[in-house]
Symmetry: C2
Subunit: 242 residues, 2 copies
């Protein structure tokens, strides 16, 4: 059974790194535990890994970074959990391809190893990176990502500002463009929110609601505590409709 904790953002305004999910993290993954970190979303991997290791040590997790191993696939398979950090989604996915890690992460997580993702790390758990807001600063060989879940996440979801005079598209307009071209539903995950996935169950948690976008439907607001597996089971819905 796949178990995932998919976080919109690692740092909430005026709080420290991962502070807002510390309780949830402990509930999701018993300490002590050995966590393997994927640092590819930021340019300086050593610095990023050191910062996250220090933070996780405080809550009882021993962290090693996948880029420090000569056999990174084995590092994934031998860990108690994997944590994929945020940053630039294109850089992260390109790194996963270059290090040949997609298949080992997919197999290990589908076999039950807990997956923790934050921001870009939450997006790459989805079928593709197509709902990122990041700049495409590097080109990965494919937009296909881990596909650990069957929906897309759009993290750092920002509601349109009714007072704005800016003419660039809002995040909602961009997601609607995504749905012009793609089938998988999208969870617009506001800052402070996160999804806890336990097999077929998908629960929205945290301090913020989310907005769910599905092809051919009006967007739906959901509140923390809501179960999303019904809304997001688009294959079942499509099958019924046809």
């Amino acid at each position: 059974m796949a178990r995932l904790l998919l976080i919109s953002n690692s740092t909430v305004h005026q709080r420290g790194y991962l502070d807002h999910v510390e309780d949830e993290l402990h509930d999701f993954l018993e300490s002590p535990a050995r966590v393997v970190f994927v640092p590819f979303a930021l340019y300086d991997r050593n610095r990023y890994a050191a910062q996250v290791a220090a933070r996780l040590a405080k809550v009882g997790y021993e962290m090693t970074s996948v880029h420090d191993f000569s056999n990174p696939q084995r590092a994934i398979m031998e860990a108690d959990a994997v944590f994929v950090g945020g940053g630039n989604t294109f850089r992260l996915l390109k790194g996963l391809y270059e290090w040949n890690l997609l298949e080992s992460i997919r197999q290990t997580v589908m076999a039950g190893m807990p997956y923790i993702g934050s921001s870009a790390g939450s997006i790459v758990a989805c079928p593709t990176l197509k709902t990122t807001k990041d700049m495409p600063v590097v080109q990965p060989p494919s937009f296909d990502a881990l596909g650990l879940v069957r929906f897309q996440i759009s993290p750092h979801y920002l509601d349109p500002d009714p007072l704005s005079t800016h003419m660039g598209e809002s995040q909602e307009q961009r997601i609607l463009q995504y749905l012009e071209e793609n089938e998988a539903p999208v969870v617009g995950l506001r800052e402070g929110g996160f999804l806890r996935v336990e097999g077929e169950s998908i629960c929205l948690k945290g301090s913020a609601g989310a907005r769910v976008f599905r092809r051919g439907h009006q967007p739906v607001e959901v509140s923390p505590g809501a179960s999303l597996e019904g809304l997001l089971a688009f294959h079942a819905v499509e099958a019924l409709a046809s």
Copy 2:
């Protein structure tokens, strides 16, 4: 000599489509003229082309859309100017590849045919699409674009909001990530601004300043009327420094 009019955005707040560049457009391209339009950035090409044709007809240009031709390469070569409209940059670039238009546009523009680009249409005039803020809703075969100029544009440039509690990256932070991975300088083109390129000359015009980002330098503010060819001649600067 390449001639380009590269617009940050087609519609300024509380004005109509292209209203803010109408005078400049007339100065750039004498009417009457036959303009060939590239509609690939929006999903509904027929509707997009009809809207733009109606607008351009009012100012004396006869517009046809490249997607209506059985020989679109020839349509490009026989027009007086090409206009590449805004929308989603990934969709636009994918369309240019699918319709096999990159080389004919490149050759024709480098031979002197005026190029007008708006938003996504301005980005694809650059070496790559790597400075777009759009969602990667479809995957083009490559991020390489037309390369009509040697710098990048980041349109709809928005300054960081000092009062924001949002933790997602600002456009400036995203551009700095681009420069961690890439060499070409970036013009953050605010709404209302546009660039007029005449061979080696690059002039910022319109109602808004721009912010120029170069690897290894502090960002520089430039005002309408400024000549940017010195700032953007990064090959020359790199050569001198080495």
